[in-house]
Every structure is written in structure tokens, then in C-alpha cells.
Symmetry: C2
Subunit: 128 residues, 2 copies
């Protein structure tokens, strides 16, 4: 969080990839501001996203470029891309195509379970 | 994304920390759904967050537990905590205390710059 004026206040887009060459991306449905998913991009996925206007990620499990929607039809059209203060996180505002279910479990959002605590015990409850 | 039924459909909260012992956390203002920041938690920060109802993170730059607001006054009261399908990302809905400016640059959100592309050139423009 040490201040780096150009990084934080400049106009240069200089995303900071981690040791694995990845940057975290929070993908939000533009119309509702609902967070659909959190995924990762490498330079290639980021470039493809910017150049095509459609969200691309890097699949860590498959080790491959992943154009969201290629198999599911849930193509995500980019409405805006923003970067955080120290340029190590991206927020993607999208319009979700298909039936709008971004999660591979068939739900709209990957965040479908909330933490409940009772007497110190922790369990997940389904939000929907 | 390989399906793990208990991980994805179960009630057990089993957050998956990465090789550095961290999990990414997206912190959202509950009232507006605006994303305030993206930060990281280790097991300690997550436990403290759950036990106190106030957001704690792990500062990667300082290598220290960080109770948000200790120096700034921007304490974040937890409204809800959710986890994504494969339990490697957390969404924290909060009410932000103080003047509500979560970013250390003095802005409400860390995501204050959007990418603009003109003729292939990329630059950041200030959202506000």
C-alpha cells in the first residue's frame, strides 16, 4: 500500500501480475451490480478481453485460455474494465449472455452460500 | 472447476487458501453493492473477521494482520460473508464506518479508474 504516484494516480494501465503471471478479476453484472464470479487473467486473457470486448480468463485448473461461454453459451460482454489503486485487481462489468448463469453449477453467481455462525459453529447456508 | 460435490454443494465452510496461505476477498458496500476493495485474508484474518464482525485482512506488503480502520477509522462492519463455488474466494458485504472511504488514496473505492481504448492505445480515465 506504499504510495506510488504514477501507479495509483497515473493514466498508464500497468497491471501487476503475480508470481504466476496472473491478476485477479471480479466480474460483476452491470445491470444489478451482482458479483457473478472471481477468476484470473494472464496477459493473454487480458489482451483478448480488451481486444474482443468479451471476457477471457486463464483457467488455473486447466492451464488454458478460457473464453467464457465457449461451452456454456454464457458469453460476457464487457461494459467496462476498471483497475484498483495498486493495479493488482481488475473489476469487469459485464452483460451476461445466454441464460445469464455464470457459475458452472448452473447458478447465476458463484457466491450462492453465506456463512452462518451459531454458538461458534460455522456452516454455509444457501442464499437462494 | 472439476465438480467436488461436498466442496460446492455442502454446508461445510472449508475455505481453500493458496500456496501463501491466503484467500482473496472482495469487499462490497452492502447498501450500494459498490465494490470497495479487493484484499487478502489468511486463516487468522478470516477467523478475526468472523469472530468480531469487523473486517480483518492480511497485509501482504507489511506481512501483518490488518484490522481495517485501525489507523483510518474506516472500520467495516460485516453484514454477510459468502464464499464461491470452489471456496477459494470470499465476498464480504459491509457497512463502512468513518467517512466511508475504503481506499488509502482517500477515495470510497479502490476502483476509481476505468480503461479507455482509442485506436488500440490503452489509458486509464478517472471514473469520478
Amino acid at each position: 500500500m506504499a504510495g506510488d504516484k504514477e501507479l495509483e494516480e497515473g493514466a498508464a494501465f500497468t497491471p501487476r501480475f503475480d508470481a504466476n503471471g496472473l491478476i485477479v478479476c471480479v466480474t460483476v453484472e452491470a445491470a444489478t451490480r451482482e458479483i457473478l464470479m472471481v477468476a484470473y487473467m494472464n496477459q493473454l486473457a487480458l489482451d483478448k478481453t480488451i481486444e474482443t470486448g468479451v471476457a477471457h480468463y486463464w483457467s488455473r485448473s486447466r492451464g488454458a485460455l478460457w473464453r467464457k461461454g465457449d461451452t456454456s453459451g454464457q458469453v460476457q460482454r464487457v461494459v467496462s474494465l476498471s483497475v484498483d489503486c495498486d493495479q493488482d485487481a481488475i473489476q469487469l462489468m459485464v452483460e451476461a449472455g445466454g441464460d445469464g448463469k455464470a457459475c458452472h453449477t448452473g447458478r447465476k453467481s458463484c457466491f450462492y452460500r453465506k456463512l452462518a455462525t451459531e454458538g461458534g459453529a460455522r456452516r454455509l447456508v444457501f442464499a437462494e
